[in-house]
Amino acid sequence: MSDDTLFQSRRAFLRALPAITAGAALPLNSASAAEGKHHWAMLVDVRKCIGCQACTVSCIMENAVPVNSFRTIVSTYAVTQEVDGHTQVGTYVLPRLCNHCDNPPCVPVCPVGATFKRDDGIVVVDGDRCVGCAYCVQACPYDARFINHDTNKADKCTFCAHRVDAGLLPACVETCVGGARIFGDLNDPKGELRRRLDAAKRTEPNAVKVLKPESGTHPNVFYIGLDPRFQGRVEGQAALWRPSEHGG
């Protein structure tokens, strides 16, 4: 009997394996099944990010991002502060990527209409049309865009649209070690993204933040645990290490 139980539970476990390995893809699949059109978004739970940059690396591998360029990076800060007369030293990490803004300043400036927002909310660049004028690079308030020196076109995070269209998760989400990145459909109230967002808002109305809210861009990358000191341009000492100063 105990054997049987063991057998059954093992069988149940084996049956569950594909679902576990496809793990994070589950909310996406259920989202795909939802009615109506998608509105893709990401939630970054900064409290869970360990600053491992696994997302940075997986994005580079997935999207063949050239040396010294980044579609996503986890900005890392050393913070020293006085709390109750004691000096505290800590690290703050902040995953950054294109916010796929609902009001994206990068789109109207494009002289040839090469960059646009898809129906599902993803902001993309039509590589066949882009003339590489870099106007969109200037217009993005988040420094999310760059000129790709391999293609000589504007480049940025696409939420891994090629993967999303195939029912997969963005590479950074798939790889996220700390489980800090959650991707999903804002239009799917039962999906994990909405459940996490709604739960956070229930516990604390201001828990969910976006970067530079005053710029009116209406980002679709939301943050939990976002320290206001890092919400806009960071007041501090410039980076000690910047990739472009190495290699290349």
């Binding site: 913070v79 590489g132 341009r233």
Partner: protein, 362 residues
Amino acid sequence: MSTSIVEVVNVAREVSWLPWAVQYFFLIGLSVGCFLLTMPWFALRRPAWERASRLALLGALACGLTAPVALLADLHQPGRFLNFYLHPNFGSWMAWGAFFIPLYLGGLALYTWLILRPDLKRLADAGGRWAGVYRAFAYGGHDSLGAIRIAAVLALTGAALVALYTGMEVMVVHARPLWDTPLLPVQFFITAVAGAIGLVLVLDRAIGDGHAAQGAHLLRLLAATQILVLAVGAAWLLLGVTGLSPTHANALAQVAPSSAWQITAVWAAGSAMVTLWLAVRHPAWRLAAGLIALHSAWMMRWTVFIGGQEIPKTGAGYYHDYHLPLGQDGMLGILGTAGLWIAVLIILISVLPWAGQRRVQA
């Protein structure tokens, strides 16, 4: 609670509007400024302006013909420039630019041709190897002030639109507070006119007879531009310091802490004052005044474009990593446009009867 934040890891975004862009905005500004200086003689027939206007016409053409090359070179996909005409997005100032530039240059070409027709005919009549070519271009050689004035209005419309779009294109970039100030287009325009006067003064020494400033009030005009430069600069600072204009306050806040920016501001104000002083007090030093005005126009654009892109939008501090590369995206680009400009100027001087009667008689 005191906090200190040190950025440990972040990306440095490269300058993506390259020195080519600085060259473009500099050259197209000079061209527009020079064109304005051609009008007192060619469209309004003020005799005192003849020398200055003829030199200015050369300047307008040489800069106007070189500028689009620099602009194309700034595209990372120059071969696709046709997309500007196949898929224009008229919500973008840059898209309009693709139409304003040909309008201006077309107007300028027509204006120049109508001006030079009689002189081309004289050249043809004088005979020589190219007489046939000159005769064909002279196309009868009629001199029609009315036609010149119509072309001047066309070119002036183009010039105004070019000045407008180059200023607006940069001003609307809210993501860069330093660019996002209503005074920027004004500053571009005034420094362009000042630079154009400077160019005329330099050309006057190089290929003219050194008398272009006589009676043409060139130096007084130069002084006026410098007073405007200083006044607008002071207004910019005042709006920022007092916080009367939040956009200027934002712009100021971005650059105020940096000693490099403080030096730049002092440098710019100092250059304007020296130019003003030379123009008013030492007319004999007008070549120096002209050179400084030209340098100020270039520096202003370099600072706004390259310096502006050195300010991170989200990261801390400044990028400070822009070292002018020696390749075609940097030094070679600047030298290349300068070389092209000189070549175009030499060709224009050699083939066009730019000096009118004077040269034909000589």
